[in-house]
């Protein structure tokens, strides 16, 4: 196979910033991308992840910082001179060109000889399994097929870096899973360095070697999927990593990592993620699957427990997604294999290492009010 990425050693983003009319969309982004890596930029809409991608692509001029490729500054180059490939959320296929012509476009721009264009386009079409559709126009194809064309158009150039801007978010659920596997397969077989923007944590966790979580234009945490999933640095990252239950509380006692927090009218012992002192306002993060649910009164003694009433039960294949209301009035999300009925009294328990305790204040940009407070409650 002749599609193999041209390469670089490292790509450095140094304090990259972008503001729009005084509003900071992105600030102080520092990131070092190694060749062959798959990096996901993760965050809610408006967090600056697409801005970061567009700055790297050259589609948006920076308003601060530098981008260095193997030590050469490239942030002043127009996008067409950087040689990166890009896949867009809405496919962005040229509507007046056939699938072949779309894929050949970049090669023609690079003045690749005709015969080679033909060969490489054929290979790329084969790679994304679009053989029978080569002469169709984009408008005649389904969303998934169009996104395959867009991916082929980007990888046929053998770019040193492929940028993907939420490429799956316009597809329906089933197709999204298919394409996710496809992207992973392409990345592995071609060794393409990829920067992938998404708001879907599941997508990011399953695809990326490293994740970058952004909030309000600032990096919150960089790490492997496992790092982020097990040890989020603050409640915002936790929220994004599936800690759907974020409860406000106050520290009562602290013994090193083990802290006892008063929350929901009871006390819970959890692990502090940063040093905490008695009296600190905190948020307690718990994933739905980390709860143990048991009929009231049958919970094993010695563990922190919360009494609650089952309100909604959703059947989800092998598990139930259960919404309960604690006696203190807060709704809580639980996943369990145990069958419970609405109206049933239950007791929830969790082990200390799965109860993460974060400071309630996010160390965030001082000029911005945290807008996400309490988003999970």
């Amino acid at each position: 196979m002749s599609i193999h990425a041209t390469s670089f050693e490292t790509l450095e983003l140094e304090n990259v910033a972008r503001s729009f009319g005084g509003q900071n969309a992105l600030r102080n982004l520092n990131l070092s991308i190694r060749s062959g890596e798959f990096i996901a930029l993760l965050g809610p809409s408006g967090c600056g992840k697409s801005t970061a991608l567009n700055c790297l692509a050259g589609l948006l001029p920076l308003t601060g910082g530098r981008i260095l490729m193997d030590g050469k500054q490239i942030d002043r180059l127009p996008p067409e001179k950087r040689g990166f490939g890009m896949v867009f959320q809405n496919y962005a296929l040229f509507p007046h060109l056939s699938v072949e012509k779309n894929i050949a476009f970049g090669l023609e721009m690079r003045k690749v000889p005709k015969a080679e264009i033909k060969k490489r386009v054929a290979e790329a079409i084969e790679l994304v399994q679009l053989g029978p559709h080569a002469t169709k126009l984009p408008g005649q194809m389904s969303g998934g097929q169009q996104q395959r064309v867009a991916i082929a158009r980007a990888v046929v150039l053998r770019p040193p870096l492929v940028l993907m801007d939420e490429p799956l978010s316009n597809l329906d659920a089933k197709l999204r899973l298919e394409m996710r596997t496809e992207i992973r397969r392409l990345h592995q077989s071609l060794g393409l360095t990829t920067l992938y923007v998404t708001h879907d944590q599941e997508e990011a966790l399953s695809l990326a070697d490293r994740l970058v979580v952004l909030r309000l234009g600032e990096v919150q945490q960089v790490g492997t999927p496992q790092d982020l999933h097990e040890h989020p640095v603050n409640w915002h990252v936790a929220d994004f990593m599936g800690y759907r239950n974020l409860l406000e509380g106050v520290v009562e006692r602290a013994h090193g990592e083990a802290v006892t927090v008063s929350v929901l009218g009871t006390t819970v012992t959890g692990s502090a993620q940063v040093p905490l002192r008695a009296g600190d306002a905190v948020k307690v993060g718990l994933r739905p699957e980390d709860f143990d649910i048991a009929p009231a009164g049958t919970a094993p003694a010695g563990l922190a427990s919360i009494d609650a009433t089952v309100e909604v039960v959703e059947y989800q294949g092998r598990e139930f997604a259960v919404e309960v209301r604690s006696d203190a009035g807060k709704p809580l999300h639980v996943r369990t294999a145990r069958h419970v009925e609405p109206g049933q009294r239950v007791t929830l328990t969790a082990t200390q290492d799965r109860v993460l305790v974060f400071p309630a204040e996010l160390a965030s940009a001082p000029d911005r009010a945290p807008q996400l407070q309490g988003a999970a409650l």
Partner: protein
């Protein structure tokens, strides 16, 4: 592979068909529309009939018919030259205004920048003002620089409302093109020139055609600005018609009407061409009609 489901377009509202049934209100409304159309028919056909009339005095229809007035008018008013001038002016104005207006409309559709509102106002005013208002100072100035009266003056004066008109017509067409298509082209290695020639130009053909035919129709029909800047050698058809109508009454009414029919035919041909590319509503405004 499953197909992406496209939302079905909404069916026409249920009430529409019934609303057209004959209630008194509906009757009145269709009636007034019919009266207007009759009026229009009367106005147009009385010109056409008279242009073929041998003699037409106190009767419903002329005493006899003859095509002779057309030959008469053609000679009398030098219509060959007038039609030639009209086409020259129209083509020049269309060409120049598209060439200048299209890039400007691209920037205005895509960018926001300080002073954009003022700029939009400057481009909008020539369309919102009566042509006489700016035509008189413009004609004075063009005369001062010896550009008017004459063909150059006529073309320059007609450009004033035409360039803004191209900008306004094309802006929605450009906005329709997804900006990420342009980003995609640049990511594929196309520079600005290639982006314009390979991607934007083919996609903008409908917009350019729409703007061009609209400007064409408006320029051929533009009376005031041409009237202020033309002389007898650079009159367009509509100005020549006006001059003939206001001129001394030696000439037969029929030959003026023959000229009017020539003008009408020219406009109708343009209209038929125009309607191949644009919606009737676009001839009056930039509001896009969704129902067709």
């Amino acid at each position: 592979m499953s197909l992406a489901l496209k939302p079905k377009s909404d069916a026409a509202p249920q009430g529409t068909k019934r609303a057209l049934a004959a209630t008194p209100g509906t009757f009145l409304i269709w009636g007034s529309m019919a009266v207007f159309l009759l009026l229009l028919l009367g106005v147009v056909s009385s010109v056409v009939v008279n242009s073929f009339a041998k003699e037409w005095f106190d009767t419903w229809l002329p005493a006899g018919y003859t095509p002779a007035w057309y030959a008469d008018a053609w000679k009398e008013y030098d219509l060959g030259q007038v039609v030639g001038t009209t086409l020259t002016v129209a083509v020049a104005v269309v060409g120049i205004s598209v060439l200048i207006g299209a890039p400007a409309s691209y920037v205005l559709a895509r960018r926001s920048f300080p002073g954009k509102n003022i700029l939009m106002l400057v481009f909008l005013l020539p369309i919102m003002m009566p042509p006489i208002t700016y035509g008189i100072p413009l004609a004075t100035l063009l005369t001062y620089y010896h550009l008017a009266p004459g063909l150059t003056g006529v073309i320059l004066a007609n450009l004033v409302p035409s360039i803004p008109f191209v900008i306004l017509t094309m802006t929605p067409f450009i906005e329709q093109i997804n900006p990420s298509i342009e980003s995609a082209a640049r990511m594929c290695g196309a520079n600005m020139l290639r982006l314009f020639t390979k991607i934007l130009a083919p996609l903008l053909v409908p917009g350019i055609l729409a703007a061009a035919v609209l400007v064409l129709v408006r320029t051929v029909g533009m009376f005031e600005l041409t009237f202020l800047t033309s002389d007898s050698t650079s009159d367009t058809l509509v100005v020549a018609l006006f001059t003939a109508m206001t001129g001394a009454g030696i000439r037969a009414q029929q030959s003026v009407d023959a000229m009017a029919v020539v003008y009408m035919l020219m406009m109708m041909v343009l209209l038929v061409v125009a309607l191949r590319f644009v919606n009737p509503t676009q001839l009056v405004s930039q509001v896009r009609e969704e129902t067709d």
